[in-house]
Amino acid sequence: MSTATIDQLRDTELSYRALLAVGAIAVFSFIAFFGLVFPESIWADLLGILISRSTLSSALRLAVPITFAALGGIFAEKAGVINIGLEGLLIISAFTAVITTAVIGPGVTILGLPAIWIGFFAGVLASLVFSLIFAVVCIRFKADQIIAGLAVWLIALGLAPFAATVYYGGVNTDNVGTTLGTWTIPVLSDIPFFGAFFDAGPAVYMMLVAVPASWFVLNRTAFGRHIRASGENPKALDTVGVDVSRVRYAGVLLSGFLSGIGGSALSLGLGQFIGNNQTMVNGKGFIAIVAYLFGNYNPLGAFGASFLFAGLEAVQIRLQQVPGYAIPDSLIQTIPYITVIVILALVGRTRIPQAAGEHYDTGEDNR
């Protein structure tokens, strides 16, 4: 592909994103205009929701699982392994976090760690174990990554309600009675609207650190270079003496680690795991995939997209609480999913890493 076409491609992608950004601003201005002109209309209510601090704070909270899964997805796919099982990693970590906390006992502390934090790390560990299995299956046994990813999702989707039924007699766990709570930073949290950034759950702060950290690791460190090379040109990486398989294992395990944080934060933020139908994760892992595609594999962009989806969700939840509208909740709940499809259709032509989805044979391990 010549440089000219690459530039052209980049331009079209940019224009898609620019279009969406302009579109979002236009929608907001539209709502703001009508909201200010007609203070008694639905637009005013919408504007009120959009600029309220509690919407921002719930958008941040809802963005946590999506963002962490998206960051994980970036590392795995940049390394050359398409991890479509992010949803499964979120499910298994969400469930493990709650059940561990419940088994230890919510009030107990071990070695100075409260049970809920042990549960948190147990969730991360469960996700790591699942991602390790996924990595072995994909890298060592050369399974098709898409089918193996689906398997990870379906196993978690079966295992979590199964285990919950064994322990509790129903697919939902009991509420453990505690949550991760909120960490409030004095003074800063008093800022109107943006104070929500400083009055949030611990996972929100983790997210705000993890996003720039991921960007830094991916773009400014030797490890990040290896990850990117492993997905773009594994042969070159092999030639300079780096073990491609090991880099890919690292990428997938990192996706397990990050998704685990997202899943644990999701369930422990509520204190309960809900296992009905698609479980409480409810497609967040798949939305995360779209978020990082939309963000063009850039952690900052992926965070932006996750925040957009989470913001839609937050607005949607608030809209349900506004009385007097005949729109059924279930219909409003489809808005994020529809947005995902529209965005995917607009940015579908993202350039994925050259060697993603392929097995890499060093020619040595064929024993």
């Binding site: 196993i155 295992l159 219909l331 579908g348 994925i352």
Partner: protein, 421 residues
Amino acid sequence: MSAADGAKSVLRRLVNASTVERILISFAALFMAVVVGAVIVLVSGRVATCQTAATTLFGLGFCYDPVEVYLVLFNGALGGPFLLDSPGLFNPNWNPLNFGFALTLKETTLLIFTGLSVAVAFRAGLFNIGTQGQLILGALATALFAFFVAPFLPSGVLGGLILIPLSIFVGAFVGGVYGAIPGALKAYADANEVITTIMLNFIAAQVAFVLVSEFFRNPDSQVVETTPLPDWGTLLPVAFPKGGDFSLLALAFGLGLVVAVWYLLEQTSFGYDLRTSGEQPEAAEYGGVDAKRTTVTSMFLSGALGGIGGAIWVLMVMGKWQAGVPSLGFDGITVTILAGNNPFGIVPAALLFGTLKSGSLAVQFGTGVPKQLVGVLRGLIILFVAMPEFFRMIGSSISLETDDDAVATDGGRSLLGGDDE
């Protein structure tokens, strides 16, 4: 090479693997899934609480005995031909036309449709995860169409002969259109069909729920469901007990579709286009196949088969549409993967998975192991079928023992095995 091409090359490899090898891999995968499932059952038996241990291993008591679980499962799926308590004895009162076996065949019939649906898409190189959504909307369309048309038809056999085929057709059409959406998004906007179909599953469930709860709800019912259809407009059980909700007619229809899909895929030029665009997209383009049109058409076809599955679910099982549609679409993925995407392979795969699903009810009742176990097995089967290399490695490591000796003695041939393409 893009991800889609990579996925296609894997599908191609799966298709190209010899039939015998594929059957072996399916059985090996099934065996491994059952073994891992047994371990999970055993471990969860440590966590569960019970009065007396069902089995004792290494001095530890376990609440569940995996062997008993599988025995109860198969026995229950067949309606209890064996008396498990008194070893080796057949049940003299066993009748093949029983309730448990009807449940098994009911699940089998439904899974044949969803399995075919996923298989058609897979053969075209498309991962249609959206059979579930296509089934939900197809089912709803069938239920609503039958409900509104029934009053204009004569009741009885004649009315049923007109109404049932028509409502199945409507279900197929709606499922097909809903399947064509991700097909068109894939063909014309390059949107990954795995993601779009999964998103469309969520949307279908919500939209169907709203439509029924707001507009078409049965006023006499506490749950979200449509008004039941008259008996003559549904597929009634012929020889099997009524509660089993299994109609031999539906099974015959499913088997007919298996042959039809096989014929379409293997014997017609459309099927050839569909397969080549799945297996060798470049060659298909070169040979003048309109890949975009083929993508949309195959997704329509796949969705239509899912819609038929939904129609049969309404007409044979429920007699109405009810919220909380079972995950037949996802099970269809397992069925087709187990069948190696071969239409004829889908029949035994569906029977096997139908056995698991129906037997799981007996397991929950008889041993206390939650029926969600089937969900775990579903994922495990897919995982193991996805890694043929695993079984090849095991296979070659067993035969390699002797090969190593051969290399040592004549020193000539090396690097045996381990070659995957």
